[in-house]
Symmetry: C2
Subunit: 306 residues, 2 copies
């Protein structure tokens, strides 16, 4: 059973972990969002790839939901004493990874190869691929102006309503090596319970990836990021309400029109019309059992669809 | 009493501190060596400027003789787990400073302005100036090959004998803003008990600085880095023996021919011929009293020479 999963954000990393714990992890390929990559003090930070890497190798600070556990904060603390702008927090261990990544990128290595080597050094078993090696950046258009993703999400704590999302560089972005092969060879394409606009959207903004999903031979199953119309974390519900006209399964399905065959929704949303084949389970992942249950539901859905 | 001091290495930072504790620190200008600057993981590290900055603001790890006290080592530890090459140790707080410096340099700010701002943020009272804003790098020619300074000093633990020292970029290097003014306006020009070849040599390799010393109007006094023919720390004695033919005061004087008016030597070297006006005192600085005694000896020498 080969699975390719599109993932971004904390929900994406947790679902990727759920799959890695349920199937043979060597058969799993995780395609990660890079639209929220950001340069901080000249360091190339890939928050979504790192959250996946840290989550699946037991290094994530689970309570905070980002960054490393047992982290220290001395480098940025010092930088903050020396220069004003430390709006984006980076721990010391995290910086160690960014230093290595940044140097390799500056030496001309593509992000996919750098990510592969970092993942290997951390003992990650599933393949972790950036959606693209090309520069792709998510921008939010809001009443207060246009902001790059992290400036809106972290710097402004996503307080501005979003009128539109755009992906700088998307028109020229090619799928990273291995992405199309993973999608073509998969027995199941899964879309994690991530924010459809800013976590999965940037992946699907890569035309080659979107086309691969449109012309898929394997079933594609998405997991709704909403429970009773609310996002577990982050602004997905507010964005769905404003950009898709509601916070039900139907609006999630609309985000993936033509790209999925089924939607997994939480029990709390069982009575809502999804406009597509729907599977109901509990979708909140807060321990190994709940992760397993969700992964099983997705895998069974795919089996039924084949 | 205005003093300009040329300084590099740990001896240089300790002597700069001695002067700052003895005269009005606002009247002190420290011209620091940048020949041992190095890029580590893309970070611009200025070890001598930083040792001065840390020493004079109470941040140096005195026991280790470099880097910050109360330091943590998580960023480089992690980088070492991810990539092989962490031969040059950088602590987390230290990295915080390097991140800020590197970003400012990349934005086009000259090192002198960056250094001034870092010093101001740390509350350093004396002026700290890099010898030059231009790229100048110390290379060692040894029987094992030619090495940039840090590769020889740290990477190879200065085990190779040195046949020659050269300064890449010296021919085009101009004194940093303020350096010539400080030398011209000083009542005393002091040369710290630093390694003449690799700590003071790169400063004097800047033609404008060497000429300013040659045409000085104020007395210039050097402190010998040797005690009984031995360096307190580092390879100054081995280098003097091989490159200057001996480890006495005479060989130190020879390193500064035409540039100084007097040499301060340790009691242990009192009987050696220095070939220049000599002042004898105890030169080892291991507490406030010994620092003060050495600074006083240098200041009194200058007063006698005027």
């Amino acid at each position: 059973m080969k699975v390719a999963v599109l993932a971004g954000g904390l929900g994406g990393s947790r679902f990727a972990r759920a799959l890695a714990e349920t199937i043979d992890p060597e058969q799993l390929t995780i395609v990660g969002n890079v639209g929220d990559d950001v340069e901080i003090f000249g360091l190339h930070v890939s928050p979504d790839l790192d959250t996946i890497l840290y989550t699946l190798t037991g290094r994530l600070d689970e309570e905070r939901g980002w960054g490393r556990k047992d982290e220290t904060w001395n480098a940025l603390g010092e930088a903050g004493r020396l220069a004003a702008d430390t709006w984006f927090q980076l721990g010391d261990r995290d910086i160690g990874l960014h230093l290595v990544r940044t140097e390799k990128l500056r030496d001309g290595e593509p992000l996919s190869r750098v990510t592969r080597d970092l993942a290997a050094a951390f003992g990650l078993v599933p393949a972790l691929l950036p959606a693209t090696d090309d520069r792709l950046r998510t921008w939010l258009e809001t009443p207060a102006g246009d902001f790059p993703f992290q400036e809106w999400f972290v710097g402004r704590q996503h307080r501005d309503e979003v009128d539109a999302v755009r992906f700088e560089g998307a028109e020229d972005a090619r799928p990273a090596p291995g992405v199309l092969e993973a999608l073509a060879g998969a027995d199941l394409i899964a879309i994690a319970p991530s924010n459809p606009f800013v976590s999965i959207g940037p992946i699907l903004a890569v035309a080659g990836i979107r086309e691969a999903l449109e012309h898929r031979s394997a079933p594609a199953v998405a997991v709704s990021p909403l429970i009773a119309g609310k996002a577990v974390r982050g602004p997905a519900d507010r964005m769905l309400a404003r950009l898709a006209g509601g916070t039900g399964p139907k609006q999630v399905t609309d985000c993936y029109k033509g790209l999925i065959d089924a939607l997994v929704v939480d029990k709390a949303d069982a009575d809502e019309e999804a406009g597509i084949r729907t599977i109901v389970t509990r979708t909140l992942m807060n321990d190994a059992d709940t992760r397993r249950r969700l992964a099983d539901a997705v895998l069974e859905t795919a089996a039924a669809l084949r």
